[in-house]
């Protein structure tokens, strides 16, 4: 029972990592950029939710939608004005720009909202549900189900829709996608928007589950989600989901067995092991890395 309880905690944390990891992996899949500002988009998502609640009261779904839309727009703007002008230039240029955007977002929030923790308003009243011998808070169920719905939604978009097919084509071969008549710039914009909306979801869920936020809250989860994406195989969407869940579970287990000082080390231990044993990750595509 104790183990199951921990597993559920792990999956809750893991689904948040997974939602963030998806944005890293989708963007990397197409533009081969590690978008270091992605963790900060998640932070902004949490803040948008915070202010949304301030205006309209504690309504979960409207706050979620506002945060997703807000972050999608932010993702669009960042890609359009920070990364697109650097496309085709050496990769290090976009990478350093991503770091710059990350610092910019953190410091804007710090300056205009404040550097300190704020308590997140209660979006969902916590109750405990008993299933068999398990005690589960409804919040965990909500976090898990929202994350699952988002992931299914994403899989549907990617596998079934015209835009999703264009995204997959672009991630396999950008020039060939262009030759199919795909507007690659539009596809890249969509990718940033979808990834950012998923990060916003993670931001809201984290506000619900671990209710306090601050301008730097995106750094560590961002890094861990990045490791989760690498663990799953960077560029692979199912990989990011699995990687995120594994990462969250591993971290919670380490915590559960009293080794709280290792909590953050576990991510980087996993990273090192993956890079040594299977650099392509659990579901990474085979040998050939396309340019």
């Amino acid at each position: 029972m104790e183990f199951l309880q921990q597993l559920i905690n792990g999956l809750q944390l893991g689904s948040i990592y997974a939602l963030i990891a998806l944005g890293y992996t989708m963007v990397y899949g197409i533009v081969k950029l590690i978008n270091f500002a992605h963790g900060d988009i998640y932070m902004i998502g949490a803040y948008i939710g915070f202010f949304a609640v301030g205006f309209m009261g504690p309504q979960f779904i409207p706050a979620l939608i506002l945060a997703m839309v807000g972050c999608a727009i932010l993702g669009f703007i960042i890609e359009r004005f920070a990364y697109r002008p650097l496309r085709g230039k050496p990769r290090i240029a976009a990478l350093t720009t991503a770091l710059g955007v990350s610092l910019l977002l953190e410091n804007l929030v710090r300056k205009f909202i404040g550097p300190n923790y704020i308590a997140y308003p209660t979006l969902v009243k916590s109750t405990t549900i008993y299933i068999g011998g398990l005690q589960i808070s409804n919040i965990k169920l909500i976090v898990l189900s929202v994350a699952l719905i988002m992931m299914f939604g994403l899989q549907f978009i990617v596998l079934k829709t015209r835009t999703g097919k264009a995204m997959r084509a672009a991630s396999q071969d950008l020039d060939a996608a262009r030759l199919m008549g795909i507007d690659v710039n539009a596809v890249i914009s969509y990718t940033f928007m979808i990834g950012s909306a998923l990060a916003a979801t993670a931001g809201i869920l984290v506000g619900v589950a671990y209710p306090r936020i601050d301008p730097y809250m995106g750094i560590l989860p961002g890094l861990k989600a990045f490791v989760a994406a690498v663990l799953g195989g960077i560029g692979s969407i199912p990989g990011a989901m699995v990687g995120g869940l594994v990462m969250g579970t591993a971290e919670t287990m380490v915590l559960g067995f009293g080794k709280s000082t290792f909590r953050d080390a576990i991510a980087f231990t996993i990273l090192i092991i993956v890079l040594l044993v299977k650099p392509t990750g659990i579901m990474g595509s085979k040998v050939n890395e396309k340019v």
């Binding site: 060939a176 262009r178 030759l179 199919m180 008549g181 795909i182 710039n185």
Partner: protein, 238 residues
């Protein structure tokens, strides 16, 4: 009277400081097969990539069906009716054969027409039909080339650009590919064919241009070029 479908005027393409195409002019009439032959590195692929909009010319103009298409984005050029089978096939390896073909019809909106077209392509390439659910990366080289051609046809181009479709194929497959190209042309599609296999290319083309390090050095009827001493020596292994 024949109508000029593609007109390239004084095309120049640079890769950074490398001047890969140095002011070439050529044209393709509607209904023709025109071939561009030349050695490795002559600039054949660069020319096709510029026509498709993947590369921006540093100077010169490209007209298609009378309209200036210089500098248009690739997806707009496809929508106007120019489609390319790129060098090395460039199929989407992790997608199925069917998904690859569907992507070929990306600029098409009429579902019924897409379906009819798909059936026509399956009729021409029964292998692709048998393997429609197979992941394209697992196809043989010949099958991949058929897929690349089929995928290109899915957009129902007026002008088809083919970049070395015979590359890496066994002689029997090369003949098959070339007869397919002739069939496609008979069915009304204009073709600009880039080849190192000058023999085969000249045998099916109406006209030809010889490209040497970024410059067109010879042009004329394919039959005449096939008997030209310089061409024979340099490209026909005579």
């Amino acid at each position: 009277m024949a109508e000029t479908l593609l007109q390239v005027e004084d095309l120049n393409v640079h890769y950074g400081a490398i001047h890969a195409i140095k002011g070439i002019s050529f044209h393709v009439q509607r209904g023709e097969i025109v071939t561009l032959i030349g050695a490795n590195g002559a600039g054949k692929s660069t020319t096709l990539r510029a026509v498709s909009g993947l590369l921006r010319p540093s100077h010169g103009k490209i007209f298609f069906a009378g309209a200036d298409i210089t500098g248009l984005a690739p997806h707009k050029i496809v929508a106007r009716g120019i489609s390319q089978v790129p060098e090395g096939r460039r199929i989407f390896p992790e997608m199925t054969v069917l998904e690859n073909l569907e992507l070929g019809a990306y600029t098409r909106r009429d579902r019924a027409e897409i379906k009819r077209n798909l059936e026509r392509i399956y009729g021409r390439f029964p292998r692709l039909k048998e393997r429609s659910r197979q992941v394209a990366g697992t196809l043989s080289g010949g099958e991949q080339q058929m897929l690349a051609i089929g995928r290109c046809l899915m957009s129902e181009p007026e002008l088809m650009l083919l970049d070395e479709p015979s590359m890496g194929l066994a002689p029997i497959l090369v003949r098959e590919i070339f007869s397919i190209i002739e069939e496609i042309n008979d069915a009304g599609t204009t073709i600009l064919l880039v080849e190192q296999n000058a023999n085969m290319a000249l045998s099916i083309a109406n006209r030809a241009y010889v490209l040497e390090t970024g410059t067109i050095t010879l042009s004329g009827a394919a039959k005449e070029l096939a008997h030209n001493e310089r061409v024979k020596k340099a490209y026909l292994g005579a």
